[in-house]
């Protein structure tokens, strides 16, 4: 575990990207290949299956520390991270022999799958006593799942590409899809290709937000414009007679969307489509909220499938007749895609239409009408662009419509987790309904660090009541809340549900009485 611990400390002790990359390169040049595989897995969100519940861990920590249960809970609320809380509360490690290797530790842990509670307890207590403080914290992190160290997948890829002298895109592709760190060796992981694994998706090409004017992009004739749909990005693969539906987060969605999987059977083998997963019925596109009902459900029933049928709005073709098409220009891929889609019988796979526009002004006009097309704005893609891996600047842009916004009063606050632990950063906002305030949205992000500190100070000094971790705050601060969409909802007291609410601005210039009213919010429903 020493090399992994050193890597973690190096990453944790710097805010410089260069220093982080250097630490990763050092690790990938020196560490045991088996530890490297596990590290790649952990840092790209492939956490080991959770075999020990947080309840069990807390119980054992209560016994070991001699503290009361309520105290352990209070500490957890303050620290905001269970793994860290436990490592801070446990007695100092007794003896520190040579630390076990990372892969050894994880293999032992996964070996507990069929073990009884006593064996799990013995395993955990043994390591709590033996591991050095940092290692103990990391061990707890492995037990509890989450693993964030401020390292993006991009950084990992960069370091691996440098150490193993390969193209970044090849590494990104090698790491994509489904693989088990326990069952794969480093060589196989880094040099794998789709011929061995038919399910393997291509890395998604992601667009940046267009900040300037579209006319700055050059001639409109060099660009393809499409609607930016309000669904989720998905990759649909048909290879060797099987269909695989992947989300952008590289989660296999086959179980949740059997209707789409079935519809995709008619695709010829060796086809990979990039598109937007949406709910669409005979009347057209349905809302994101409808899609959410399907996303959460692993094995949807007949009724749900009938009520909320899924579809894919296809906008790119990545593979055709088993050939990687990503190197061809968008224009050529598009021609192929249109031919492919037009030959399909099922209405579940539809092409995402191109918006014909002779000038940028026409596109500005189209963008302003996005909401009436159930779209969030436009996508602009250069016609000669190849299909890249990951987020790249230059050829693909998302050009979203400006968010809807409303001025609201801060009413409840709760402490954040992780980096924001100890500070009140999770807010609930309200608007006026007569002379009462009614809550309508929660938002976490959008303030600068300095603003967060200021608001935190206000909250601590103006708490009216405490309910567990939640504080009721004197209704005084006004914020402009932005959101992408609004829908009627009977689950919320306000009668509306917002899509992507976040803080746009801290309105120091406004008094609470100047915030918006519920009627203003409901007026947006009709637009």
């Amino acid at each position: 575990m020493d090399a992994f611990m050193k890597l973690f400390e190096a990453l944790d002790q710097t805010t410089s990207t260069t220093a982080k990359t250097e630490a990763l390169e050092r690790f990938f040049s020196e560490a045991d290949p088996r530890d490297q595989v596990w590290t790649i897995a952990l840092f790209t969100g492939r956490r080991p299956r959770r075999l020990i519940s947080s309840g069990q861990l807390r119980n054992w920590a209560v016994q070991q520390s001699g503290l009361s249960e309520w105290m352990v809970e209070e500490c957890y609320a303050h620290v905001g991270d269970l793994a860290e809380t436990l490592s801070l509360l446990l007695p100092a490690p007794q003896m520190q022999r040579a630390q076990p290797a990372l892969h050894q530790l994880l293999n032992d842990l996964l070996g507990l799958q069929k073990a009884d509670e006593a064996a799990k307890e013995a395993f955990v207590l043994h390591h709590w006593q033996q591991l050095a403080p940092t290692a103990r914290f990391l061990f707890n992190k492995l037990l509890t799942g989450g693993f964030r160290v401020g390292v993006s997948e991009k950084l990992i890829v960069k370091a691996l590409a440098k150490v193993y002298q390969r193209e970044e895109a090849a590494i990104t592709y090698a790491l994509s899809g489904k693989w088990e760190p326990q069952q794969i060796d480093l060589e196989k992981l880094l040099y794998s290709n789709k011929s061995e694994d038919a399910s393997k998706p291509y890395p998604f090409y992601l667009a940046y937000t267009l900040e300037g004017e579209p006319a700055d992009l050059g001639e409109v004739i060099d660009w393809q414009a499409e609607w930016k749909w309000d669904g989720i990005r998905a990759q649909l693969i048909k290879r060797a007679g099987e269909v695989y539906l992947w989300s952008r987060g590289e989660e296999l969605l086959n179980d949740s969307f059997p209707d789409l999987v079935e519809a995709a059977q008619e695709l010829p083998d060796g086809t990979v489509l990039d598109g937007e997963l949406v709910i669409m019925d005979d009347s057209g596109l349905r809302s994101f909220a409808d899609l959410q009902q399907r996303l959460g459900r692993k094995k949807p029933g007949k009724k749900l499938l009938q009520q909320l049928p899924a579809g894919l709005l296809c906008y790119d073709l990545l593979e055709w007749e088993n050939q990687d098409y990503r190197k061809y220009p968008l224009q050529a891929r598009r021609t192929r895609l249109e031919a492919c889609c037009s030959s399909l019988v099922s209405s579940r796979l539809a092409i995402s239409e191109v918006i014909k526009a002779p000038s940028w002004a026409d596109l500005v006009q189209a963008r302003s009408e996005s909401r009436s097309y159930q779209a969030e704005g436009l996508m602009l893609k250069r016609l000669d662009s190849t299909y890249e891996s990951g987020r790249k600047k230059g050829d693909w842009w998302k050009w979203k419509v400006d968010p809807l916004s409303i001025d609201a009063v801060l009413l409840y606050a709760q402490q954040g987790h992780g980096r924001r632990a100890g500070l009140y950063t999770d807010y609930t906002f309200a608007v006026w309904d007569g002379d009462k305030l009614v809550t309508f949205a929660k938002a976490y992000s959008g303030l600068t660090d300095a603003e967060i500190k200021e608001v935190d100070k206000f909250i601590k000094a103006h708490t009216l009541e405490k309910f567990g971790p939640v504080r009721t705050v004197k209704p005084e601060l006004v914020f402009e809340i932005g959101f992408e969409g609004i829908q009627a909802s009977n689950r919320h007291k306000s009668g509306v549900a917002l899509r992507f609410p976040r803080i746009l601005r801290y309105r120091r210039d406004k008094l609470a009485v100047q915030a918006n009213h519920l009627a203003d919010l409901k007026a947006l429903l009709r637009d």
């Binding site: 944790d12 809380t85 992780g418 100890g422």
Partner: protein
């Protein structure tokens, strides 16, 4: 009969002597535990404090304040009430104030730490019936390792940066923390520069006999002359200022108890966070309370609710009292230093 010490809107009050301890509103007679801004506030008519605080208080509160000083252990009688100041180990000059009247003894701790930092007069337990204890870090996740280990880490960090051709910026409060850090630095690694707010406090303490390593004013740094590998000590409030630019490239760090929690450490967006506090950690608080033999404990500033509940579980008669001392964030120190520069 009312308590010997009561909690009034103005501060902790002794009716028998008609004086306040560390009052946060304007009063006539203020007995001061130490010179930090949330305890020694501006605007009191008369101050009474331990002698080491005199110059610091005059720097911070005005040259012309009415100030009487006492030595540690010296007794001052006011209206038949016996007052004395005993080392609290928090910062130079910090004291617990012992109050005795008709056989009853109360001790107001101010801020304290039990570990001897080998610079500040060390904490002495003072036997009493009722102990008014701070509990800034009254939560068991806050346990400090021996300070020698921290000094070693800081010096190692400094030496590493020197090899990398970088400077070090280390943030700590200008009164207390800064001097403690200076005292633990290994001066052979390189020259040490200090922010003016710290230089001012250094001078005030050196004048009453505290010994500190040689330092240079921040404004005199010249890369051509001094090179890299220098150490800069500055108060947290001065972070982000323009002066930082001329020390580039640098690695930055803070020394505080709060960075024990990783979220706090990462929140400050500095490279390093060294866990070092001038407040007692959780075991330290329990140890101090046990050592003074009090039956009754009044918990002020910090995790008061939590810590008093814990004390009651341990069999103490404990309660919490609200004060305006800044237990939760050490904020007032920061703002005071913002003013100082």
């Amino acid at each position: 009969m009312s308590d010997l010490l009561e909690f009034k809107p103005q501060g902790i009050y002794c009716a028998a002597a008609d004086v306040f301890i560390d009052p946060w509103r304007k009063v006539e007679k203020a007995l001061i535990t130490h010179a930090h801004a949330d305890h020694a506030r501006w605007g009191q008519q008369h101050y009474l404090a331990q002698a080491d605080n005199a110059l610091v208080m005059r720097e911070r509160l005005g040259k012309d304040i009415s100030l009487q000083t006492v030595a540690y252990g010296e007794v001052v009688m006011i209206n038949g009430v016996k007052f004395s100041w005993h080392p609290a180990g928090h910062i130079p000059g910090s004291a617990q104030i012992r109050v005795e009247y008709r056989g009853e003894v109360w001790v107001a701790s101010g801020d304290y730490k039990v570990e001897d930092d080998e610079f500040t007069p060390a904490f002495e337990p003072v036997p009493c019936h009722t102990f008014i204890s701070e509990c800034t870090f009254g939560m068991p996740v806050y346990r400090w390792e021996p300070q020698q280990k921290r000094y070693a880490e800081i010096n190692q960090w400094w030496a590493q940066q020197a090899v990398l051709g970088k400077n070090c910026l280390l943030f700590g409060y200008s009164l207390g923390k800064a001097q403690r850090l200076l005292n633990g630095l290994e001066p052979t690694i390189g020259p040490i520069f200090v922010h003016p707010a710290i230089a001012q406090m250094n001078a005030a303490l050196e004048a009453v006999g505290y010994r500190l390593p040689a330092t240079l004013p921040l404004s005199t740094y010249n890369k051509k002359v001094h090179g890299t590998g220098v150490m800069v000590i500055a108060p947290p409030g001065a972070g982000g200022g323009n002066w930082e630019k001329k020390f580039e490239p640098y690695s930055d760090a803070s020394a505080s108890g709060w960075v024990q929690v990783r979220g706090n450490r990462r929140w400050q967006s500095l490279d390093r966070g060294f866990v070092m506090s001038d407040h007692a950690d959780y075991p330290g608080l329990l140890q101090a309370i046990e050592a003074c033999g009090a039956e009754r404990v009044v918990c002020t500033h910090g995790f008061t609710a939590l810590f008093s509940r814990q004390l009651r579980e341990l069999g103490y008669n404990a309660r919490e009292e609200h004060t305006l001392f800044s237990g939760e964030s050490e904020q007032s120190e920061k703002s005071a230093e913002g003013e100082a520069g």
